[in-house]
C-alpha cells in the first residue's frame, strides 16, 4: 500500500515566517493530498496535486511534487498563529480502488 512519511515530525516557527514540510512515499501514485488537523477534530483537505503536476498554489499554500524522487513539499507562507495544527500527506495509488495511508504528520506550532 501507499505510505506518506512527513518530516519534520515537529516544527516551531514565529508568526510571519514560512513553514516547509516534506513528504516521501514509496510507489507510483495518481495524486498526493495534504490535510490539516486541528486538535481533537477530523482532518480537512487542503490541496491535491496530480502525478503530472509539479507545483500547485492555493492562497498561502504552495505544494510541489517530484515523482522522480517520490517526494512532495508543503510550504505555508507568512504563517499565522491560526496555522498551528498537524499536517498530513496521503497518496492515492494509480490503480482503481486502492486505499491510501497517512503518515505520522508534522506538528506545526506558530508562535505569536
Amino acid at each position: 500500500s501507499q505510505q506518506g512519511e512527513e518530516d519534520p515530525q515537529a516544527l516551531s516557527i514565529q508568526e510571519g515566517e514560512n513553514a516547509t514540510m516534506n513528504c516521501s512515499y514509496k510507489t507510483s501514485i495518481n495524486n498526493l493530498q495534504w490535510y490539516r488537523q486541528n486538535s481533537g477534530r477530523g482532518l480537512v483537505h487542503l490541496i491535491l496535486i496530480r502525478s503530472n503536476e509539479r507545483e500547485k498554489h492555493s492562497g498561502r499554500l504552495r505544494v510541489t511534487l517530484d515523482t522522480s524522487k517520490k517526494s512532495s513539499s508543503l510550504l505555508i507562507t507568512a504563517s499565522r498563529a491560526a496555522d498551528t495544527a498537524s499536517y498530513f500527506c496521503a497518496t492515492v495509488g494509480e490503480l482503481y480502488g486502492q486505499n491510501f495511508v497517512f503518515g505520522p504528520g508534522t506538528r506545526l506550532s506558530v508562535l505569536p
Binding site: N30, G40, G42, V44, L48, Y96, G97, G105
Partner: protein, 112 residues
C-alpha cells in the same frame, strides 16, 4: 450540505464490553474509510470500502475488530471485548473515487 457524521462523539466503556461506532458518509460517496488515531499519533488505517467490491480489511488489528457497510450508506465499526489499548479516536472518511477525503469529527473511545 451535510458532511460525514459520526456517533457517538464520545464513548466510555469498561474493559471486556463490546462497542459499536457509526459513520454516516456523504451521500453518493462510494468510498468509506475507517482510521484509528492514538493520542499525538498519526492515522492508522483500519478498513476501506469501495462500492460493491470486497472491503480491504488489511488494517484491522485483530479479529475483535469488524466493520460493515450497507451499500453506499452507513457503516458500523464493532470492537468486541474491548481492551485498554483500544482507547483512541476512531475517524471515518468518505470520498468519490480518487478524490479528497471528507472526515467526520471522530468518536473518542475510552476503555476503563
Amino acid at each position: 450540505g451535510a458532511g460525514v457524521s459520526q456517533s457517538p462523539s464520545n464513548k466510555v466503556t469498561e474493559k471486556g464490553k463490546d462497542v459499536e461506532l457509526r459513520c454516516d458518509p456523504i451521500s453518493g460517496h462510494t468510498a468509506l474509510y475507517w482510521y484509528r488515531q492514538r493520542l499525538g499519533q498519526g492515522l492508522e488505517f483500519l478498513i476501506y470500502f469501495q462500492g460493491n467490491s470486497a472491503p480491504d480489511k488489511s488494517g484491522l488489528p485483530s479479529d475483535r475488530f469488524s466493520a460493515e457497510r450497507t451499500g453506499e450508506s452507513v457503516s458500523t465499526l464493532t470492537i468486541q471485548r474491548t481492551q485498554q489499548e483500544d482507547s483512541a479516536v476512531y475517524l471515518c472518511a468518505s470520498s468519490l473515487m480518487l478524490k479528497p477525503l471528507h472526515f467526520g469529527n471522530g468518536t473518542r473511545l475510552t476503555v476503563t
